[in-house]
Amino acid sequence: MINRFEDVIIQTICRLLVPPIQLFALYVIAHGHYSPGGGFQGGCILAASFILLVIAYDLKEASKRMSEKINIMYCCIGVIIYSGIGLLCVILGSNYLDYGILNSIIPVEPAAARSLGILGVEIGVGIAVMAVMVSIFINIASGGEHGESEELE
């Protein structure tokens, strides 16, 4: 779908817009546990910055920055962070995702351990949502032929 379309204005503006969008997304993820926002919204905004890059350039140029293999790896890493923190609480002798017990391995108060645990889970959710949203967009935009054309070349 997305063919190369040379336009200096669009490409420059989009390239300049991508870093502020990603910075805002990281802000939303980092402040998600005590203000509006969180992993899901921040991940969506991160994915939007990548989609902007795909629209301004083309699929090949964007794949150089983040290939489909790395994208799937990010998706798995996000799920592993989320479930790993949850399982760590079970291993330490509490319920799944009950972060209060984490203060036995981190030298902080139980309340601060809860806050840090939620932050870790938000980061995991953010990475997974970003990877899945980018993957869905690339699959829709290329008609499901993105990975196959990569192997042919």
Partner: protein, 81 residues
């Protein structure tokens, strides 16, 4: 909460939703759906549900519009019916 603003936004939301399902051009339909999502986001902010409004702005007006564009570019732009 200002009820005049509520009524006004609600009226435009209904207008956008009706326009999105009646228009023949799918690209304008996707844009109208994005406008609908953004106005819903305004409505939720105005009612005090900031987290829901944030999700609506990020997912409804941002990502899903991009998905619709991707789907329209690989299929047809005009509806058959």
């Amino acid at each position: 909460m200002i009820w005049q603003l509520d009524i006004l936004i609600l009226f435009i939301v209904v207008l956008c939703a009706l326009a999105a399902i009646t228009v023949k051009d799918l690209l304008s339909s996707a844009i109208l759906l994005g406008a609908y999502s953004f106005l819903m986001c305004l409505l939720w902010t105005e009612m005090g549900a900031v987290d829901v409004a944030f999700t609506e702005a990020a997912v409804g007006a941002g990502i899903s519009t991009a998905f619709f564009f991707g789907a329209i570019f690989v299929t047809t732009r005009r509806t058959k019916d």
